[in-house]
Amino acid sequence: MITVNINGKDYSAEKDETVLAVAKRNFIYIPTFCHNEAVADYGSCRICMVEIWTKKGKNKLVTACLFPVEDGLKVETNNERVLFIRKNIAELLLAKCPASAEVAEIAAQLGVYETKYRIEKDGNKCILCALCTRVCDEVVGRKAISLVNRGINREVAIPFYDNAAACIACGSCVYICPTNAITMTDKDGIRTITMPNCEMKFALRKCNSCGREWIPEKQVKYFLSSAPGLTIEEFDLCQSCRK
């Protein structure tokens, strides 16, 4: 066990835990966008930056989601230097995602209500946090979507913008997206997943008992191929009817 000082109070922590993990456990709020327990931390949104002082005398700004704590570490999560960066990032994100309520909410918490920077694309919600691509890779194991292009042209896309072959329509990317930039609707036997630059449609399977369309056919196929011994009959009934 080691001791970490956050905002003037000592907390005990495990070695190699991140600053964010220690803070969360102790109900110290640090805003995040690209952090989610389901996937490995990435450090791209930079909104969780905090100021640290190490025992050796190092003082710098780090991302709370990635920085491993060490004994005697002093952290400040809300001082002027930290807020200066956060406010600037919030303002940049407001210009990037004018349509996102979630970005506006965190910006408002920081006292930022409008952006002076030029809005490049109206209606954009994607902050490029890469949670969708990471969950698809690390949790689902499909790598159906990835980040393409560089710099300001970076975006989330399926291969060549038109090949949804690897996607099993599970919707993980939709659930994890912190700004609702990816949406999903189930209607008339079809699941439609809408990403900022494309729309994908997948057939749904009906429940033999209640008739509800409850799972994408591609997901069933994927389950069958990846778990030997599983039979198609297992998917005859939906979660509600199975009990």
Binding site: Y42, G43, S44, C45, R46, I47, M49, L61, V62, T63, L66, F67, P68, R81, F84, I85, N88, I89, L92, L93, A95, K96, K116, Y117, R118, E120, I127, L128, A130, L147, N149, R150, G151, I152, N153, R154
Partner: protein
């Protein structure tokens, strides 16, 4: 026929054998075949020499032709140096070759016409390299052999004492002693950061792990920088030797990588050949010189992304992933390539290593300043008379580099600024010209050593436009992973473009400054971390120029087209220089002695007239100026 060397002492034997087989009286015609000279026709000159030598019956005993690496003086290429007299011929064309063979090689005459003369003093000719001011003030340590050896011949490298440092290290020093020597030498990373090389090696040595890596970074991407390319092209074995010593020092390294960008075809070709030859001689591979030390060096070709010069992005790229940086809260020297301890050094850093062991630490420490030892190679480009690569001792003043070695600014224009350290560096004004060039001094003054690019700018360069250029470059090269770099650089560029087009207000400068600080502090890697330097340094030293753009809507350099118009002054004598230079026929000739007329409607404001006019007969005015 190559026979493998099976003992350390066999290397010296081989060297003696190579030297004995060479006739000391043979003339050596060295043709610079660096990429710069090749672009100017060096390969054709080589072919012409081959033809002429046989046509004029000059046999190999009399004269031997050698294609060497970059000599550094790219401005005067293709360069031919005839040794041992060291006769230096500049701008040699194919037509000159028969005469060179007939007169210089056969009759021993010097051809005046091809000699270099100092600009402004046509009569005084320099026969030898050492008489040319460009070379006189240089101290060539890393580049010394570039102009003498054929980079594709390992025998040439061994003949000048190559791989002797490796033998010295393998036979007389423990790995810790090697690291201590490097720490003692004060060698710092030449790739940009200036981190002490010895400490980097030490931390990899100390890190736990039975598999470690050494990686050589030859992903030079700064606009204007080409020293790493020239070393890799001109003397690849020097880098291999440096890597071998690094691998031995760190321990548990059996695999090393050279990351070369694919746009460097000759560097790649020569590195592949060097590895092949070194393996054949038993200087690389398993059981090197029968000492039990193994090292395999592999080449990884980079796709040309600027960000892949960043250590973690480079390693991701070698691993086959997208070249994106990651947070380095655990250093790559402990957890780098494939999560293993990895030493990453730049080409020039590694090229310094064998020299330190060859000449000794004390000798090495005698060059340079307190905090920066040794020499640094700079790529001197831009508005300077002698474009090329210069190797100078640390601590030399910017003035000496630009004015003495570089020969000053051409066409009687006024020096304005020098941008050091590539796009992440800063612009230093004339008042800083006496600054001693080393890692710490440059950083203290808002610039940085970086890779060593030095872009000289004159009165025709607009500082706002220059900042915009570098930001635009970095915006395009940013990987886009983190918000401050991706979105911040775009916002900075937008503000700069507003300033350049006269749409900005004075408070935009404060906004710009704040945003630059946020990008610097908030970015994930050093690309974003240093990206704002061109803006911050030009704001520091040339703030008045920013303000002039905003309040007076005027660009004094005549660059920002939305703000300016050109006018002919009354003192124009109608010399027609501008008339000839104008690409759009906007200038009308009115007869000799009478000022020319400029038709504003036809003028595209390219500034060609301003560049050629040496009588100060053109004026730049704001378009809002109603005179």
């Amino acid at each position: 026929m190559i026979t493998r060397l099976n003992a350390t002492q066999e290397l010296e034997g081989l060297r003696q054998q190579i030297l004995a087989s060479r006739n000391q009286d043979t003339l050596r015609i060295t043709v610079c075949c660096g990429t710069g000279c090749i672009a100017q026709g060096a390969k054709k000159v080589v072919e012409a020499f081959k033809r002429e030598l046989s046509a004029q019956n000059v046999n190999a005993e009399v004269a031997e032709l050698k294609e060497t690496g970059c000599h550094g003086f790219c401005e005067q290429g293709p360069i031919v140096v005839i040794r041992p007299q060291d006769i230096f011929y500049k701008k040699v064309q194919v037509e000159d070759v028969p005469k060179i063979v007939a007169r210089t090689i056969i009759n021993g005459e010097v051809m005046e016409r091809l000699l270099y003369s100092v600009p402004g003093n046509k009569k005084e000719k320099c026969t030898q390299e050492s008489q040319i001011p460009f070379y006189a003030k240089q101290e060539r340590v890393v580049f010394k052999n570039n102009a003498y050896i054929d980079p594709t011949s390992i025998e040439d490298y061994i003949a000048v004492g190559g791989y002797a440092s490796l033998v010295k290290v393998l036979t007389t020093l423990q790995s810790q002693q090697v690291i201590d020597t490097i720490i003692d030498s004060g060698l710092r990373g030449r790739g940009g950061g200036g981190f002490p090389t010895g400490w980097k090696w030490q931390s990899s040595k100390d890190a736990a792990g039975d598999i470690k890596f050494v990686v050589c970074n030859c992903d030079e991407g700064d606009p204007g920088a080409f020293m790493d390319r020239s070393i890799m092209e001109g003397n690849p074995h020097l880098v291999l030797e440096g890597m071998l010593i690094a691998a031995y020092a760190v321990g548990n390294v059996s695999e090393a990588y050279i990351y070369i960008r694919n746009e460097y075809p000759y560097a790649l070709k020569h590195a592949y050949k060097a590895i092949e030859d070194a393996k054949a001689y038993g200087l690389l591979g398993d059981n090197i010189l029968s000492t039990g030390f193994n090292l395999d060096i592999k080449i990884c070709r980079g796709g040309g992304a600027f960000v892949c010069g960043e250590s973690t992005a480079l390693m991701a790229s070698i691993e086959g992933k997208v070249g994106e940086p990651r947070a380095k809260y655990v250093h790559t020297s402990e957890k780098g390539l494939w999560g293993r301890p990895t030493v990453l050094n730049n080409v020039e850093t590694l090229a310094n290593v064998p020299v330190i062991f060859e000449k000794g630490v004390e000798w090495y420490k005698s060059i340079g300043t307190e905090g920066s030892k040794g020499t640094k190679v700079f790529a001197l480009v831009g508005k300077v008379n002698n474009t090329g690569l210069v190797e100078v001792p640390m601590g030399i003043s910017l003035r000496e580099v630009i004015m003495d070695i570089g020969g000053g600014v051409p066409n009687k224009k006024q020096f304005k600024a020098v941008q050091t350290g590539g796009p992440s560096g800063g612009c230093l004004p004339e008042s800083k010209l006496d600054l001693a060039v080393d890692f710490d001094e440059l950083t203290k003054n808002g610039s940085m050593m970086g890779s060593g690019a030095m872009v000289v700018m004159d009165e025709r360069n607009c500082m706002v436009d220059t900042a915009r250029y570098f930001i635009e470059f970095l915006e395009e090269e940013s990987c886009g992973k983190c918000t401050p770099c991706r979105e911040g650089l775009r916002a900075i560029r937008n503000i700069l473009m507003d300033i350049c087009s006269g749409k900005a207000e004075l408070e935009d400068i404060d906004r710009l400054e704040k945003l630059c600080l946020a990008v610097t502090e908030g970015s994930l890697c050093q690309l974003g971390g240093t990206a704002a330097n061109p803006v911050l340094s030009s704001l520091k030293y040339f703030r008045s120029e920013y303000e002039e753009h905003i309040t007076n809507k005027y660009c004094r350099a005549g660059v920002c087209k939305d703000l300016i118009a050109f006018y002919i002054k009354d003192n124009c004598p109608g010399c027609v220089l501008c008339y000839k230079a104008c690409p759009t026929w906007a200038i009308i000739y009115n007869g000799k002695g009478v000022p020319v007329t400029l038709i504003q409607d036809k003028c595209t404001k390219c500034g060609a007239c301003l560049d050629v006019c040496n009588l100060d007969a053109l004026e730049v005015r704001s378009v809002y100026d109603n005179r």
